[in-house]
Amino acid sequence: MQVGHAKSPFQAWNLRRNPFGELTFGERAELAVVEELAHWLEILRRPRTALQFVGDCGHGKTTHLLALHRSLGNSVYVYYPETGPRPKLPTVRPLLIDEAQRMGHWNRWRLMRGKGPIVVATHIDLARQLRKFGFETVSVDMNAPMHAETLSRILNRRIEASRWMNRDPSFEVDILLAEGLLAKFHSNVRAIEGFLYESLQATLTGRASWPPVI
């Protein structure tokens, strides 16, 4: 009977870890696949612009924000927690605000009265208010269908980053598998990662084979 062990089950697959597990904020930013990054960075050069990512949980809003934060250099990322003390809004711009729908009216008013550029990730559409305060607003619907190629790139980047030795990983997520995942989970990348995490664990312990049956 084996109740956990000290020998890595991942190395046989040339992996250090399960690629579909949780990552640190830094790793998420590093591995993000943001196809229109250059375009958005160009938009954010203008002083009074707002870029908003609207969508449900698990669709990549935070990952996009972190990737932009990494590329913008001197920007500030602010996460609005659901409970507890509210963060102070810095005057530094570009300002990136995660979970912006949690901001109270007063803080939202302060944000929109201030300078740009700003980037928000939100569950509810704030475009009307942003425009009302004079922001040139670009809205990105994160719930929109994703291309299988994009999903394949996202997942294969994670596999690549989890590589153990300096040779090709033992497996990849091909277009066919990506299409199957999108058909089942739509563009909810978090749900896809959760499914692939369990599928890979089952494969490593001999309970299933790869690729997983969707």
Binding site: M1, G4, A6, N18, P81, Y197
Partner: protein, 437 residues
């Protein structure tokens, strides 16, 4: 593209390191062009990976170089860093703990090259902030929490006063159904597990007693030992708790029956913690928890239940010496753990607990024999045979080996076979075993 290639070479890559042991090796640097390195930093780290938010820590950091690297040259920088003492390396299902050496070259106006190399850490002791101490700390935390809550409550008392009846009603209902009602039938129930801090391969004693207040039918009395990985991912409204049951054993202490009023019911149950058991881990968002849940299942009535947490220590067999490989055959590891426990037993009662726990188990041993014993151990085997002097080299331990008369004669001075452990004479440090067919 990174300005340089970094590689980490450990002096002994396959070694299993003890917690806190020094890891030695070299950082190898190769550059394609002249590069000014502000600092070459090396550190020993541990980190979780899996479904929970990442918990991590740095054990030791050192800057091994700063200066100019010339194109085409290879540079080697030796390092010696201390590994983290806790937690040990662990690979489970939704929770894993890895240790690694990380190196990073800080280079101006370029992507910092970095590299990471994993190594295995085994440790023989849980930290002092294991379960008992932690409970005490929790108690202090609770006290501060209660004071804080009381201050908040007094500040908003006027507004909260309308909720007090609802809160009291909910708390009262929980108490009524979870505690009051079951005890109306079972009476006061005493449940205990000893010891609560235990090493793998060793037995725990579970005890349950109660005296029903009236005649009562039960479906069963059960004792469930569970090991669960529990990880939290995300935060706020995105917070999600993932659990994975690694181990579960439910022992039925009593089947369905009718119990008479005022007749004391007493249940004792020994359970051997698996030798390969993972240790209890309590990291911030990642936990590995062992527990014993005792249940009196009462038909058409709320069950009586109590859950007692265990603190399972890392296996001493794996981590006792740093050069002992982790991949011990489980049976061999178990034998060593049992022998550890027998040697460490400070009372006859404790030895009996261990012997009782391994009563039905046989072990493979290779024993050097040296003739018949002058004085047989003070123990009846219940069959004809011969007692031989023995020596178990792997543990530097003397053995009294009973060979049944129908067993094959010992042809050489070295006997190998399956044995049953009958006793351990603590004063003489002699292991008493019987050869099995």
């Amino acid at each position: 593209m990174a300005a340089c290639d970094l590689t980490i070479e450990l002096d002994d890559e396959k070694r299993v390191y003890s917690g806190g042991e020094i890891i030695a090796g070299n950082i190898v640097v190769q550059c394609e062009r002249d590069t000014n390195c502000k600092a070459l930093e090396v550190s020993t780290n541990w980190a979780t990976h899996g479904r929970g938010n990442i918990d991590q820590g740095i054990s030791q950091t050192a800057t091994v170089f700063g200066g100019l690297w010339q194109a085409g040259q290879e540079y080697r920088y030796p390092f010696q860093l201390k590994s983290a003492e806790w937690p040990p390396t662990y690979y489970g299902n939704i929770l894993n703990v890895s240790h690694s050496v990380r190196a990073r070259a800080k280079i101006s106006w370029a992507v910092d090259p970095k590299v990471e190399k994993e190594f295995t850490v085994a440790t023989s002791n849980s930290p002092d902030d294991g379960l008992p101490t932690r409970a005490a700390e929790k108690g202090v935390g609770n006290l501060i929490g209660w004071i804080f809550a009381a201050i908040i409550f007094s500040l908003f008392a006027f507004f909260l006063v309308w909720f007090v009846p609802i809160i009291l009603l909910v708390v009262g209902m929980i108490w009524f159904f979870k505690s009051y009602l079951p005890k109306q039938l079972t009476g006061v129930v005493t449940a205990d597990v000893q010891p609560r801090r235990i090493a793998p391969g060793l037995p725990i004693k579970c005890h349950l007693d109660f005296t029903p207040k009236r005649n009562v039918s039960i479906n069963a009395v059960t004792c469930a030992i569970r090991c669960v990985e529990k990880c939290v991912s995300g935060s706020g409204s995105n917070r999600k708790t993932h659990t994975h049951e690694l181990f579960s054993r439910i022992e039925t202490l009593a089947d369905a029956q009718r119990l008479s009023a005022h007749e004391k019911q007493l249940f004792d149950f020994d359970f051997l913690i698996p030798v390969s058991a993972a240790p209890t881990l309590k990291l911030s968002d990642n936990e590995l928890l062992w527990s014993v849940e005792m249940r009196i299942d009462i038909p058409r009535w709320p069950d009586w239940t109590e859950t007692i947490d265990l603190n399972v220590e890392p296996s001493r067999v794996v981590a006792g010496e740093s050069n002992i490989p982790v991949e011990h055959p489980p049976e061999d590891a178990w034998l060593h753990e049992v022998l550890n426990q027998l040697e460490q037993s400070d009372s006859r009662e404790r030895i009996e607990i261990v012997l009782e726990a391994i009563r039905d188990h046989h072990f493979s041993m290779a024993i050097e024999t040296k003739g018949a014993m002058d004085a047989a151990p003070d123990r009846s085997v219940g069959e004809r045979g011969q007692w031989l002097n023995g020596y178990y080299e792997a543990r530097d331990m003397f053995v009294a080996l009973f060979m049944p008369s129908d067993a094959a004669p010992v042809a050489s001075s070295r006997w190998s076979g399956t044995v049953k452990i009958l006793d351990f004479e603590h004063d003489k440090e002699v292991l008493v075993v019987k050869a099995m067919p």
